[in-house]
Symmetry: C2
Subunit: 420 residues, 2 copies
């Protein structure tokens, strides 16, 4: 049987995903959101003409000819500090002491820096003649009211949120934060901390997926674990399709659970199962369920396969829900290069995903590659993508690596970050 | 006056910071937490001896001499699927059909893969003689109950959470998630969307800092904006010191506000103000306040200075609160290299921080470097660190860049990530 290429399967998934409806978000709730519409400034920036220096606000004409040898003396009307909101006026023949950022008084047209003065507070001796408009920042010189400050599609970073706020815009139009539901099935699965009877195991997969969803910036929808029978799973799927914008199933490890997922979803007629040319993660399923045609992705049960599938298929689907541009053909684009620390073999005719630790540009395979050893996932911070036509990675080869979400603490100051 | 080196100022800040008290966190609340104690497995992993292959669970002795030319025929007692929790026994002279991951029946000591059989379900012809223990995964062969699976200091990534869950451990001992309070002062400051009178500006700084704190994985504590007088600010500081593990002030842009911050904090006797050998961000203050000696960092008022100071001083302080190892002398460690797209000058005798966009290993200065242009922060995704002894960056030079937190969507599939 012919295996489906990764990019074709991702394209099929993305065809089922539309951006979530747009909504007005207050700026405090908008970190990481994608703009559905451009943001235009509600005000001029700066909002008022102000001084670029600490010094004296003057009429330039009053200072003509000022020099060290022949200073111009002017009376100082008073101080204008940054944050001063009183309207001030400068009459000819006088000056105001002014701080950086403080509003220029009406009538002033230049600033003499304090360095070009004797620093006087009652009267001041100015030792340089300013050009007209020297050291003045004009209202609107950065941004005019009505001008676009951010384009649709921009992701709202902290710096961009500051810009939107400075533009005096209180809400942005963005895609609704997506909700991702995780359905876990398997009668043998138990919560962590349970007494385990013979053959029972802890459900670590749904916890991992929930953490991956959260680490990718999206709130997971928690649903009770479904039993392995058709009725329970049908109910769980109906609930998930109504509550979420994307549904993930993880089959546990049991054949029964996987069979039930496959049986119920095959019956729907809107979900297809495919073998994808990748290892791990070959058995994939995807489609839509419920009256709103909610996209669903069925993830393989073993932890490494689920981890790989999440990064290759689910992350792009979440990005698409958020209204971000996603190109299935370019699915490797978020990868970063790493140099292989050692040689390792790769399966022919499939894309091999090798879990690695990526540190300072060096990719080292992490733990055994056996799919049952959840422990080996603990140290990996990336998965190396070995193309289908490569059967052997040589030491020193540059390999493309997808960083695992949630493995890089943003505030790590000790250099544990993946570096290149 | 001698300026204080960046590493000395950071060391002085870190000397005021202790890890937060430890607490038991449920795994669902522990993403990104740092382990205060090691995690030991509560169970053997795997938890029961199971099959590594789809095939037949046998007694190896029963299959002696089996080959293609002389198969051994055994009756098949039944099927054991993954997730089967019934106790099963294998009597001599028979076998069970068994799936990968399914519990081995009592008495069986090897698995013959289905490929070495005729696939029978009533009786099976086995065409290979297995070695003892062949294709059997033994209980505890990955991890023995009681063995350490994660060391203290480990940051809980999704993969590590899965490991802890699989080890049947329901809670972890970790540092309490730190609370970071942001105090903004300045009588001229207004909320986004307000009518602005002459000289009033929108408070974009505290929103930016709140987003930076959140993007660094920590919940900010929101406090009402303080007025510019001593009483209001004293009250706000008292409240912040009680409510948070770290207090940040941002002075707005007004001299009055900054003076008030300085006056109140200088009076406390536990906060020092220093000029640090960096640009922007030279005027820094830090110390402790309140009965619990809560650390405080006073950030400069202009947005770029605040952004730089956050990454250089606040992020390491947050990491230290979380119990992560932080070395002030190594403050550049989280930086990644980028190649300068163009030449640019750098101030002598201070570390210069140049905002840049870092894409595919190329660092391009972003917008004007004037500190008042909040717009130019919008495109930057990193700040290049130009050492004090460098006065000119040449095109093609490798510069070390601190990535700005919150600028890399984890689920970006279109390659907007900073690449090297």
């Amino acid at each position: 049987m012919t295996l489906r290429p990764v990019e074709d399967h991702l394209a099929a998934i993305l065809a089922t995903v539309s951006p979530t409806p747009t909504v007005d978000l207050a700026l405090r709730d908008a970190l990481g959101a994608t703009l559905a519409e451009p943001v235009r400034s509600a005000v001029d920036l700066p909002g008022f003409t102000n001084s670029a220096m600490d010094g004296y606000a003057v009429r330039a004409a009053d200072c003509a000819g000022a020099s060290t040898s022949s200073p111009v003396r002017l009376p100082v009307v008073g101080d204008i500090q940054a944050g001063d909101t009183s309207p001030r006026t400068l009459e000819p023949g006088a000056c105001w002491r002014i701080m950086t950022g403080a509003p220029m008084p009406e009538g002033a047209d230049a600033v003499v820096p304090v360095e070009d003065s004797d620093g006087g507070t009652e009267t001041v001796a100015l030792t340089a003649a300013p050009d007209l408009h020297r050291h003045v920042r004009f209202r609107g010189e950065d941004v005019a009211a009505g001008a676009q400050v951010l384009a649709a599609g921009a992701v709202l970073t902290p710096g961009r949120l500051a810009l939107v706020a400075a533009a005096n815009v209180a809400t942005v139009r963005a895609n609704t934060p997506p909700r991702v539901a995780i359905i876990s099935t398997g009668d043998e699965l138990r919560e962590p901390g349970s007494e385990l009877a013979h053959g029972q195991i802890v459900d670590s997969n749904s916890l991992m997926l929930e953490a991956l969803v959260r680490a990718s910036g999206v709130e997971p929808v928690r649903l009770p674990r479904s039993r392995d029978d058709v009725d329970s799973l049908t109910r769980a799927l109906t609930e998930a399709a109504a509550a979420a914008d994307l549904v993930l199933t993880t089959g546990g490890v049991s054949m029964g659970a996987y069979d039930t997922v496959k049986e119920v979803l095959s019956r729907s007629g809107t979900v297809e199962f495919a073998k994808v040319a990748m290892r791990p993660g070959m058995p994939q399923g995807h489609g839509v369920i419920g009256p709103r045609a909610t996209p669903i992705i069925t993830l393989p049960g073993n932890p490494l396969s689920a981890m790989v599938s999440f990064h290759v298929f689910v992350l792009p689907a979440i990005a698409a829900l958020q209204g971000r541009p996603v190109d299935a053909a370019n699915w490797r684009a978020p990868a970063v290069p790493g140099r292989a620390a050692v040689a390792w073999p790769s399966v022919p005719d499939k894309v091999e995903f090798t879990r690695v630790t990526l540190r300072r540009g060096i990719a080292t395979p992490s733990g055994g590659q056996g799919s049952h050893m959840v422990g080996a996932l603990a140290d990996a911070n990336a998965i190396a993508i070995i193309p289908a036509d490569v059967t052997q990675v040589q030491e020193g080869d540059v390999v493309q690596c997808l960083r695992l979400v949630g493995t890089i603490p943003a505030n790590n100051a000790a250099g544990e970050v993946s570096m290149l």
